[in-house]
């Protein structure tokens, strides 16, 4: 098991490095720069600003300085757009926000999705199954940028129960709508995966044997069928978890939660290079880490994989 983990690590580090170099160069290819604006800065002013941020150096040197800053001082650089803050500030402030609403959404998605999927599979072709399938298809086709404003319309304007946005330290009133909007489509995917996987497992030979032995239904489901059912679901959960805790542009921009999700799109539009890089590294390393964790979990659930 240890050598398995080491092998995975040996691949992960070069992957991250390639990611950093590739994004750094891709970013520089985009037309315009952080200080391109409707009112072009006079050349002298632009030169002063570029000198301050080291943007007057050749690209490779900027990359070396940037990576050097991270390795020696854990400094991810300044934001060119939000000049009062550094990338470290932005992540330190925004990541806990997305981590909170993302983790809650993750738990909600697994619980609701998992239970819905299992129930639908066990009672296949019953009204419960049709209800679950209908609900998940509906949830999957309703994009969250449509759902989020509708939630605000219902809960804020019509019912007056919840504030229409903001964060306020993450009090529950501010969490309800972001969690619903973020977890719904993940919940639907988990439910559908669980259902089809469970159906397949329930038709396999070892379950037939268990039934033939006369085991009660709940023992068959929970003790024998659940573990193999989870395999495809677990492989989905890694990326899903990363996707949720790193936030969403839609959630952050519609609910003004102040999370880092907003910056994925905005930093690119603003050519806020260091912010883009910081977020890419954060998202990239988390994706690599959680894929690795899933692989390890997988190996634990299914010993065949360790071979």
């Amino acid at each position: 098991m240890l050598s398995f983990i080491l092998r995975r690590l040996a691949v992960a580090i070069p992957t991250l490095l390639v990611l950093v170099v590739a994004s750094f160069y891709l970013m520089q290819f985009a037309p315009g720069g952080p200080f391109t604006s409707e009112r072009p800065l006079p050349p002298q002013v632009l030169a002063n600003i570029e000198a301050k941020y080291g943007l007057n150096e050749p690209t490779w040197k900027q990359l070396v300085n940037y990576v050097g800053g991270i390795l020696t001082e854990f400094d991810f650089g300044p934001s060119y757009k939000y000049k009062d803050r550094t990338v470290n500030d932005i992540i330190a402030q925004g990541f806990p926000v997305t981590l909170k609403y993302g983790s809650i959404s993750f738990v909600v998605a697994i619980l609701v999705g998992g239970i819905l999927g299992i129930a639908a599979a066990v009672r296949q072709n019953s009204w419960l199954d049709y209800f679950a399938v209908g609900l998940t298809i509906g949830a999957q086709v309703l994009p969250n940028f449509v759902m989020a404003p509708i939630l605000i319309l219902i809960f804020t304007l019509w019912l007056g129960w919840l504030p229409g946005g903001g964060w306020n330290g993450g009090q529950w009133q501010y969490l309800v709508m972001p969690v619903i909007a973020l977890s719904t489509s993940y919940m639907a995917s988990i439910a559908r995966l669980t259902r089809s996987s469970m159906l397949e497992v329930l038709r396999s030979n070892f379950i037939r044997t268990a039934r033939a032995k006369g085991l009660p239904n709940h023992v068959i489901i929970w003790r024998h069928a659940l573990k193999p059912t989870l395999l495809p679901v677990v492989s989905y959960l890694g990326p899903a978890f990363v996707g949720m805790v790193t936030g969403s542009f839609i959630i952050d921009s519609i609910f003004s939660t102040g999370g880092i999700g907003y910056f994925y799109v905005n930093a690119a539009f603003n050519r806020d290079y260091a912010v883009m890089m910081g977020l890419t590294i954060l998202l990239g390393s988390m994706t690599i880490l959680f894929n690795m964790l899933v692989d390890i979990l997988y190996a634990w659930i299914d010993p065949k994989i360790r071979l």
């Binding site: 315009g32 409707e38 939000y82 000049k83 932005i90 402030q93 952050d252």
Partner: protein, 540 residues
């Protein structure tokens, strides 16, 4: 002898403000509401609240509340005393002496002195600060500004000095009639050296910041909200009515609209296209006012331009064939004003010059456009092909479609529409790698040169690549004239004839606003330089 401008105007303004108001009565005589908080929506997080670093509108709005410069603006945009009570100007109009009030204090109790302004202005010009508004020191015309910016002189050589704690002397390179107006700009506000020295770039965080305006920053949750509250140290605190101002970052205008209707906001923008409906449904909450902004199309007339665009007749035909009334009444629908010349009528001391084609009917313009196009050798059987670029946005797209249809129907021009992401668009336009491009311009200060300088050959904003020595001469001359209107008139007439840019409409601003706040909103201030200290909510 110095000409004293310790004018009657300032005296009157002070006199009006002086008598303390009876408790619970608004300056307009109406009873005040119990709740004196103001919560408004901003589209995006502000760039900074450091006066010398801030560059965006929403950041400047906060800075105007937190800091106070030499002068403020009143409801109509006139200068009223801020930290300065008056100024004198030398006979040759190059030396300004500002007299500062002795009761102005920073929020930590330190007196505000002339030295704080000297420090701030040097900081603005210093290349090390790398302020995006560094060039403002050149616009102001402060002596040695350009040399300091370029790093050829130390900041201490800048033409600004403290005669004593309450006297500030500014020396200009040459007379600049509009100089006093520039002292209301955020980049000229004082900054606290002792705080900046202590905290460095972190000095603007709520726990460190010290400011001299009517409010202090008490909370800042980036991307969510920033809160400012009354500054008890402010010299005129007793006349401040609004206790707490909150800016909420809400990216989506429709969500902001919903939250306004749910009572969470006192002010938001009217969502695109909703103005005609809302004006009927909520007339008491819709506020519309002229702005110092012009929407126009710029035509590439530089060396890199295709030959047909260098033909004045083609450019005139393109302009004439646009029915601006249709654009403002049926497309934008926000009370915009059709534009035939560049500078908006709302600009101070500016009279819109008469240009011929503005007086014609659209039928006459169309006829003339067809004639000109035919003369230039184009027609329905030999159509012109043209590419129009605009930055990705629903609003710009609608206008571009309408205009391309007008060109097609009247002139037979085949227009290819191309939208580009913002920064890509700016680069394409800046590199003059286009034929016709969408553009918009808002004045940096309330004087016509902030618009007309765009057609100066050397202007960094001259995306048309237009160059006319006569225009350059008139503009240079206008800089030092007491009444530059005749020159501005000539420049407008020349560009209306040469048509390197096609004015389409002058912007209007609009807000959905809590009706209790409406009476105090300075709708007549065309720059929309509002100060929370002058706002109030009347009782329902």
């Amino acid at each position: 002898m110095n000409i004293s401008l310790k004018s009657a105007l300032f005296a009157t303004a002070l006199a009006l403000a002086s008598p303390a108001l009876a408790a619970g009565t608004a300056p307009n005589g109406m009873p005040l509401a119990d709740d004196q908080t103001f919560t408004y929506r901003v589209l995006d997080e502000h760039s900074s609240v450091d006066p010398q670093i801030v560059e965006d509108v929403s950041g400047s709005e906060i800075v105007r509340d937190l800091f106070e410069g030499l002068f403020n603006q009143d409801r109509k945009g006139n200068l009223v005393p801020g930290v300065a009570t008056s100024y004198d100007v030398s006979d040759d109009k190059t030396v300004y002496t500002f007299h500062l009030r002795d009761n102005a204090k920073w929020s930590d109790g330190t007196p505000v002195t002339a030295g704080d302004f000297v420090y701030a202005w040097q900081r603005l010009a210093d290349p090390e600060t790398a302020s995006p508004y560094q060039w403002f020191i050149e616009i102001m015309g402060v002596k040695n500004g350009s040399a300091v910016m370029a790093g050829d002189m130390p900041p201490s050589e800048l033409g600004v000095k403290a005669i004593d704690d309450h006297t500030l002397e500014v020396t200009l390179e040459a007379p600049r009639p509009y100089f006093p107006l520039t002292t209301t700009h955020a980049s000229t506000f004082p900054s606290p050296k002792w705080v900046i020295d202590k905290w460095g770039a972190d000095w603007t965080k709520p726990e460190h910041i010290v400011s001299n305006g009517a409010y202090v920053l008490t909370e800042h949750v980036p991307q969510e909200r920033s809160v400012r509250e009354r500054n008890p140290m402010y010299w005129d605190n007793e006349h401040t009515i609004i206790d707490k101002v909150t800016a909420l970052v809400i990216n989506d205008e429709n969500v902001a609209f919903t939250r306004f209707k749910a009572g969470e906001l006192d002010r938001t923008e009217i969502p695109t296209g909703q103005y005609p409906v809302l004006k009927k449904e909520m007339p008491e909450a819709t506020v519309v006012f002229p702005r110092l902004c012009t929407y126009y199309y710029t035509i590439n007339v530089s060396d890199s331009a295709p030959e047909f665009l260098k033909d004045k007749r083609v450019r005139q035909a393109l302009s004439y064939a646009i029915d601006r009334d249709i654009i403002v009444n049926n497309v934008t629908q926000g009370g915009q004003i059709p534009a035939y010349t560049f500078t908006p009528a709302a600009t101070a001391n500016f009279e819109v010059p008469t240009v011929d084609y503005a007086t014609w009917t659209q039928q006459e313009r169309n006829t003339k456009a067809m004639e000109l196009m035919a003369e230039a050798g184009y027609g329905k059987d030999h159509p012109l092909d043209l590419t129009l670029i605009y930055n990705t946005s629903e609003g710009h797209k609608k206008i571009a479609i309408a205009i391309s249809q007008m060109w097609k129907q009247t002139l037979g021009v085949n227009v290819t529409l191309e939208n580009q992401e913002w920064k890509t668009f700016l680069q394409t336009r800046g590199n003059k790698d286009y034929e016709v491009a969408r553009a918009g311009w808002c004045g940096d200060y309330n004087e016509a040169s902030t618009f007309l300088d765009l057609v100066d050959t050397d202007s960094g904003y001259n995306d048309a690549g237009y160059s006319n020595p006569e225009v350059d001469r008139l503009l240079a001359e206008a800089k030092t004239m007491d009444n530059p209107q005749p020159n501005y008139t000539k420049v407008e007439q020349i560009i209306a004839d040469d048509m390197p840019i096609i004015p389409i409409y002058h912007y209007t601003g609009n807000y959905l606003m809590n009706p209790q706040l409406v009476p105090s909103w300075p709708v007549e201030n065309v720059e929309q330089n509002w100060y929370s200290k002058d706002l109030y909510k009347v009782a329902k």
